[in-house]
């Protein structure tokens, strides 16, 4: 029950779940992620049901440009890796190293987001508006929802990095950084599914 953790000899090995509050956050965040999985599943289902309804507008195979999507995938996968490095540094109480890798994660996320915006602008130029066809609406909803999650995640980590810029790693902020990294992995996993279901199947004509 009590929150007393002895920090006189440095941080515990797992600062993110050394306190009751940290542990509770852990459980709560997994519950949140399971809700997110369900939400994304409905958007994937909608897309799979409607992706052939192009209504004479542009089709997936006309639009998708593999090199761009491949670069985006690599950027997001790398940002997941850098967040792992940051969390490993956090567990070793190396605050500066954690901050550096979290900033790298942030900027990789920004790069990903930039490519995604560029991609959407290109598609609009090709004549794929949000309400052009059922394919267009479900595509923009699914990929746009993922993009909105990236925006939220970037705002989140930016807030944490500014707030705890000089705080060092504490039992209060360690769970917060850890929850962000969980969220970021989730975003990454969703993208892997988007890459497969939307882009690979779109180009492969599956």
């Amino acid at each position: 029950m009590s929150e007393t953790v002895d920090v006189s000899r440095g941080l515990p090995a797992h600062p993110e779940r050394a306190t009751l509050e940290g542990k509770n956050k852990f459980v709560g965040f997994w519950v949140f992620l399971s809700g997110e999985v369900t939400m994304f599943a409905t958007f994937f289902g909608t897309y799979l049901g409607l992706r052939n309804g192009t209504a004479g507008g542009p089709e997936a195979a006309d639009l998708f440009h593999m090199p761009l999507v491949f670069i985006m995938t690599m950027i997001l996968l790398t940002s997941s890796l850098t967040s792992v490095i940051a969390i490993t540094a956090m567990k070793k109480n190396q605050f500066k190293k954690m901050k550096l890798w979290m900033w790298i994660t942030f900027f990789l996320g920004v790069a990903f987001l930039g490519f995604e915006i560029y991609e959407f602008v290109e598609y609009v130029h090709y004549g794929l508006g949000f309400s052009t066809s059922a394919f267009a609406s479900s595509f923009y909803s699914l990929v746009g929802l993922h993009g909105a999650h990236v925006v939220f995640g970037l705002g989140w980590v930016l807030l944490l990095l500014i707030r705890y810029n000089r705080a060092g790693i504490t039992l209060t902020n360690a769970p917060k950084f850890y929850m962000f990294s969980l969220y970021w992995h989730f975003i990454d996993v969703v993208w892997v599914f988007i890459f497969t279901v939307v882009y690979l199947m779109g180009i492969g004509g599956g």
Binding site: M1, L159, T172
Partner: protein, 148 residues
């Protein structure tokens, strides 16, 4: 009705309906910490189970100690309010209102995510009810029950 009368008429029996579930296992009125010790749950109807197989009281899972409590906060209300405003803005598209619906959506989202950010920024560690105070409140609740 005078306030003394109302106080007299207050129901202070702990388990007036011979209940089955946890909410009847604590005192009435419910203390701010709910349970002085987290009860051990041995069934889907834990209190009923204890009445049949035990002595009718929940067994504690921990020794009596200080209880950590969260501080009151209006931020959850602001998050909900922002969510409501944003949702209302989305259905305003067909209302032909005097205000641009996108403005309402953006305002709502700012209030919602802004409140979340404030909640994250402010480290609110809550407070503790000391073991002595918990014991005193428990004694008072038991005395209330007996004097009924």
């Amino acid at each position: 009705m005078s306030s003394t009368q109302r106080r007299k008429d207050r129901i202070i029996v702990d388990d007036p309906w011979d209940g089955r579930a946890l909410e009847w296992a604590t005192h009435t009125p419910v203390p701010e910490y709910n349970f002085a010790q987290v009860p051990q749950v041995r069934s889907l109807d834990p209190l009923f189970y204890e009445k049949i197989h035990g002595d009718g009281k929940m067994k504690p899972t921990e020794p009596l100690g200080d209880i950590h409590m969260p501080n009151g906060s209006f931020l959850p209300f602001m998050i909900a309010l922002g969510s409501f405003i944003a949702g209302f803005g989305l259905i305003m598209k067909h209302m032909d209102a005097w205000i641009n619906p996108y403005f309402v959506v953006v305002l709502g989202l700012l209030v919602m995510f802004g409140s979340m950010a404030v909640r994250s920024w402010k480290e609110d560690h809550g407070y503790h009810i000391t073991k002595e105070n918990v014991e005193a409140m428990e004694r008072e609740a038991l005395a209330d029950e007996r004097n009924r």
